[in-house]
Symmetry: C2
Subunit: 142 residues, 2 copies
DNA sequence: TTGTTGTAGTTAACGCGTTAATTACACGAC
DNA sequence: GTCGTGTAATTAACGCGTTAACTACAACAA
């Protein structure tokens, strides 16, 4: 059965939901001149340590061409460092730099406030339920 | 509380879920050289009749600058027509053209198959539940 | 060593998202 | 009428998503 209106269309609903949530985080990121994708890359590097580009792209949910651009931008601002892997001249290893760690630390409190507010307004139980459904949808379709 | 891993991060989960779902529709749209956003615009025009640009952008969930580009592309392919509103030289009225309607009709069966498959795999009950949660999240945050 | 195949990363081209600035027009105050 | 304000749409600038093509290197076979 086709969705009879856009509110009940799954792609639309997912789009709007994401817009609504990101609308809360965007001002914070913009204030520090970091894009959403750059922020995801920094977080992965912060949490997972030095990582090769392919794994980084995968974990940050960024496509390889985008990652190339993001690396260039973050390296230019000294947020990360980029080195060739020993033993394999094709691979590239990315590492977070002090300035990058500092940015993560600076934004974490604000992130927590926003996330807590969303959880409070939406309800802890329902948030867990939503995350479960999304996880299941992702696993089922991918 | 901050999400401890990206799978339980709401923005990430919404992103992945949307990617997973759109991955099913994308080949269909690509085969007809229509982008996802162009398709949304066409659907709105098909369902709602002649509409002014602002309302169209709103209903198709497209920002005004994007709509300008989309209109240009769709008009170039004779999928829609673009006219100034009578009585107000600023407003623009968009109307679907025969070629546009034909595309909608041509793709609808395939859309239905894909949507049904998703619903079958994910479960009707859970899909409704997911849509309810998303709708609530959207209303709560926007 | 040379050639083939495969993989990691980059580049290119095009479209959309986002924000800000700008143009064109409407409307009311004066 | 003209000026100022507000609104609709467009344009501009930059970054990312997407696909395809390309480069550089590795691995292996002959």
């Amino acid at each position: 059965m086709l969705p009879e209106n856009t509110r009940r269309s799954l792609p639309m609903a997912l789009l709007h939901a994401r817009e609504a949530v990101m609308g809360r985080f965007r001002p914070m990121l913009a204030a520090h001149d970091v894009t959403e994708q750059q922020w995801r890359v920094l977080r992965v590097l912060s949490e997972a340590g030095p990582v090769e580009a392919t794994e980084l792209a995968d974990r940050a949910s960024v496509l390889p061409p985008s990652l190339t651009r993001i690396i260039k931008a973050l390296e230019g601002r000294k947020f990360i460092t980029r080195n060739k892997a020993e033993g394999d001249g094709r691979r590239v290893v990315l590492t977070i730099a002090p300035a990058g760690s500092a940015l993560i630390d600076a934004l974490s409190p604000e992130r927590r406030v926003i996330y807590d507010d969303i959880e409070k307004r939406f309800g802890h139980e329902r948030l867990e339920q939503l995350l479960d459904l999304l996880e299941s949808l992702i696993d089922g379709e991918s």
